[in-house]
């Protein structure tokens, strides 16, 4: 009985953890490469989810796809949402953060205020009731069985997509020219500039990719776990992102994966062992951050070790 509970905690925790990892990936990427702590990442998660929801509802309504291929709509909506969010992210970066590069406090202040801007934008474009809660149709239905545990198909699918994205991203960074340029930037700024790497363009690209990844994370999370998105979810999205990043270290892609898994496992174990604390569930990322930062402030794989 305990063994089964442990199995289910591990399996579900891993899958949820993978989803958390992809949510945080963009956040850590942008910090690792450009040194910016972009607190707006949380809203990109939410904006991505909203775009996905609106697009898939619209595609469903105009009925241009044959019903035999129901997976076409989610894929197209995901793709479009990724592109749009990436565009929004890079435009936002260019207009705001780019101007105040280097001024850490101002970046933090500007990005937290921008979260509010995007939240209000959602209110303005979609109306108050949609901004309060918007239903996202499930990515997949039913359950599958993985080693004696019933897992929602949607979540398993999301976990797989997340893993594939991680692999794809590491291939991108290590094999392509652009990816290697990013890696160079993260290692030594001046040297990269000397080698002719255009920081401005790359920063924009990084923010674009990170926003896109954020939207992917948001889509996966809202379509497999909560089946809905609210405009104020950016706060918990941000909480998850930085918990993961704190556990795994700012700037480390591998750390993001590990941190996500740890958070996922922690959350699922907490929920299994102490049931009925639905309200506390949303506080768990915050509690974890506070505990971890108190005990071990540099995280596990920190790239830039920021402490005494």
């Amino acid at each position: 009985m305990v063994k089964r509970m442990l199995e289910s905690i591990i399996i579900i925790g891993t899958i949820v953890g993978l989803i958390y990892a992809i949510i945080a990936l963009g956040f850590t990427l942008v910090y690792g490469i450009s040194g910016i702590v972009n607190l707006t990442h949380g809203v990109f998660i939410v904006v991505g989810a909203y775009l996905y929801g609106v697009l898939s509802d619209y595609l469903l309504k105009i009925n241009i796809f044959p019903p035999e291929s129901p997976y076409l709509i989610p894929i197209i909506a995901m793709f479009l949402s990724f592109i749009f969010t990436a565009a929004i992210g890079s435009i936002f970066y260019r207009l705001t953060l780019h101007q105040i590069l280097g001024d850490e406090i101002s970046i933090l202040i500007a990005s937290i205020c921008s979260c509010l801007i995007f939240q209000k934008l959602i209110y303005i474009t979609l109306g108050t009731s949609q901004a309060f809660a918007y239903r996202i149709s499930p990515l997949a239905y039913g359950k599958i069985r993985i080693i004696n545990t019933d897992v929602l198909t949607g979540q398993a699918l999301a976990g797989t997509i997340s893993l594939i994205t991680f692999i794809a991203l590491s291939i991108f960074i290590s094999k392509t020219k652009v990816g290697r340029a990013m890696k160079a930037l993260s290692q030594d700024l001046e040297a990269s500039m000397l080698m002719g790497i255009s920081t401005e363009k790359l920063y924009m690209l990084t923010t674009a990719i990170s926003a896109g990844l954020g939207s992917l994370g948001g889509i996966l999370y809202t379509s497999t776990v909560t089946f809905g998105v609210a405009s104020y979810m950016w706060m918990s999205g941000l909480a998850v992102s930085f918990t993961v990043v704190v556990l795994g270290g700012l700037g480390s892609v591998k750390g993001s994966l590990l941190g996500g898994l740890i958070l996922g496992l922690a959350e699922i174990s907490a929920m299994t062992i102490l049931p009925g604390a639905g309200v506390l569930q949303s506080s768990i990322p915050f509690i974890v951050i506070i505990l971890v930062l108190i005990i071990r402030p540099k995280g596990l794989f920190g790239k830039r070790i920021e402490m005494e």
Binding site: T128, S129, F132, A133, Y134, R135, V225, T226, F227, G228, V229, A230, Y232, M233, G276, G278, V279, S282
Partner: protein, 518 residues
């Protein structure tokens, strides 16, 4: 540098006192009535069915008729509407808006939907009234907030300080809950569900995590709360931002619930109900679902809300009183926006209209704009409003004495509606409780729970001669007829006739695969 900044400060601060506040002079023979309306909520805007519409409709109706006759002078109502600041919640602004209404010259204020903002609002009026003689106190009529404590902790504890406060709508939470209990214990469980499930009905309780649901959930979780035929097997609270109710619904089903009682004011019930319908969970849903009163709910669920039962003021265009249908038609006709769902009035709209009827009657009895006299008039009056007879209890709450399945006295009460398909295939809110009214219809059981429910009149699992006998005994009857049997009216058209017989015959001989139902 610093001094210069400080000088800027000085300049900025001199400006406000230079902005004079212009008081609008009260026109002759105009009575200003202030109304606080929860904008951004269904209960607020007129085109969504909210209180604003009720207030306007009442004002037009009264002004276009004889106005209000106070001591021989004819008064016109001038409506002053402000935001109650319920959503997004801003208690400071609620207080400021209330005081603004008072300063604009309103002697009577109608308002208060959300508990927090209503608290701020009446606190402001309390502080204002403390300095005024009884004759000049501002009178406040609560419209929309049902929390008991709003009255019991104020008028109930300190009559002299709070006697200017009344609640005209709705009946308080305790009474709303008693209505629910009355319906469940008096009809739904013994007459419908218990026979289906072999005498014992297992039920679950699902509530939103707010203050008002604590007592209700606590009570319902106790054994015997719903009578000897029912037992509680599941009880949970959902955080306000929940949109995914499947886990809760699944757990409720797994624990064996065949009836789920829900208590919600949040608009996310649209998701709850559509998830229930899509998942075809094996339990009925019944309770208090405020959002489900609106036509917006119908649109949001995409029609997947059929069979849900919830408390309401009235069904769709139901003749609760002779005034009700006219009110409904005028409301929908005046306030519906093209391209949006029709503006079906929700309970705050009904309440707002009732408030004006109450005010008019009290003023005309009092004969002058003297608060002491107005309060006395309010305390002693009994008038017909849109949904029954209205009077106040000694502590100024809504007087309501029936909460069972019958309604002999006609004092305002809550009704239960069920979303049912009409003959035209559209969904309407149909009154299923009280059961003794001409517009009451039978409760429907979803087909995925028991497909033979509407023709199995004896509720024994088989469609046979016994059911036919019941139908025959009621044949030709209609509401008010001595033989009337609501259950026998299978097609719910208000008369037991050949069409019902045909429906019964069509399923004759069929039986449930398992009886009692699992």
């Amino acid at each position: 540098m610093e001094k210069k900044i400080a000088l800027l400060v000085a300049i900025l601060l001199v400006m406000p006192p230079l902005l004079a506040w212009i008081q609008s002079a009260e026109a002759q023979q105009t009575l200003k009535i202030g109304v606080l309306v929860p904008y951004n909520l269904v209960q607020g805007e007129a085109w969504r069915g909210g209180a604003e519409g009720g207030a306007w409709l009442a004002t037009w109706d009264i002004n276009n008729a004889t106005g209000i006759n106070i001591g021989g002078t004819r008064y016109k109502i001038e409506l002053v509407i402000m935001d109650e600041c319920a959503y997004p919640l801003n208690e400071e602004q609620a207080r400021a808006n209330t005081l603004a209404l008072i300063q604009a010259g309103c002697k009577i204020i109608v308002g208060g939907f959300r508990t927090e903002s209503t608290n701020a609002s009446i606190r402001a009026v309390y502080e204002w009234n403390q300095d005024r003689p009884d004759d000049e106190k501002v009178i406040y009529l609560i419209n929309g907030a049902s929390t008991d404590e709003l009255i019991t902790n104020t008028v109930g504890k300190d009559y002299e300080g709070w006697k200017w406060l009344f609640r005209i709508n709705p009946i308080n939470s305790t009474m709303l809950f008693k209505n629910t209990l009355g319906w469940l214990i008096g009809y739904l469980i013994p007459k419908k569900l218990a026979p289906m499930y072999g005498g014992l009905v297992k039920y679950g309780v699902l509530v939103e995590d707010y203050e008002w649901t604590k007592k209700i959930q606590g009570y319902l979780s106790q054994p015997g709360a719903l009578g000897p035929n029912a037992t509680c097997v599941y009880s949970a609270r959902t955080p306000p931002e929940t949109v995914n109710f499947d886990p809760y619904l699944r757990e409720a089903a797994n624990s064996g619930s065949r009836l789920l009682l829900i208590f919600y004011t949040l608009p996310t019930t649209a998701y709850l109900i559509s998830q229930w319908y899509q998942g075809q969970y094996p339990f009925l849903i019944c309770g208090i679902d405020v959002y489900a009163q609106s036509s917006e709910f119908l649109k949001k669920t995409g029609g997947l809300c059929e069979y849900e039962m919830t408390e309401d003021f009235a069904g769709t265009r139901t003749p609760i009183t002779p005034l009700a249908v006219r009110f409904w038609d005028n409301f929908v006709g005046n306030f519906s926006k093209p391209g949006e769902p029709p503006a079906w009035p929700v309970y705050t709209a009904w309440g707002a209209y009732n408030a004006f009827l109450t005010i008019k009657a009290a003023l005309e009895t009092a004969g002058e704009l003297n608060s002491t006299k107005i309060i006395q008039a309010l305390e002693s009056q009994e008038i017909w409003v849109l949904n029954g007879k209205a009077r106040f209890t000694p502590i100024h709450d809504v007087y309501s004495i029936s909460y069972g399945v019958l309604w002999p006295d006609k004092y305002t009460r809550a009704v239960f509606i069920q979303w049912q398909k009409g003959a035209d295939g559209n969904l309407y809110k149909v009154v299923v409780c009280p059961i003794d009214q001409p517009y009451s219809r039978k409760t429907m059981i979803p087909p995925w729970i028991y497909p033979l429910a509407d023709v199995d009149l004896k509720i024994d699992g088989i469609i046979d001669v016994f059911d036919a006998v019941i139908l025959a005994a009621a044949a030709g009857s209609y509401p008010g007829h001595p033989n009337w049997n609501m259950e026998a009216d299978i097609n719910r058209d208000g008369i037991v006739d050949i069409f019902d017989a045909v429906l019964l015959a069509g399923k004759a001989g069929q039986q449930a695969p398992q009886w009692p139902l699992p």
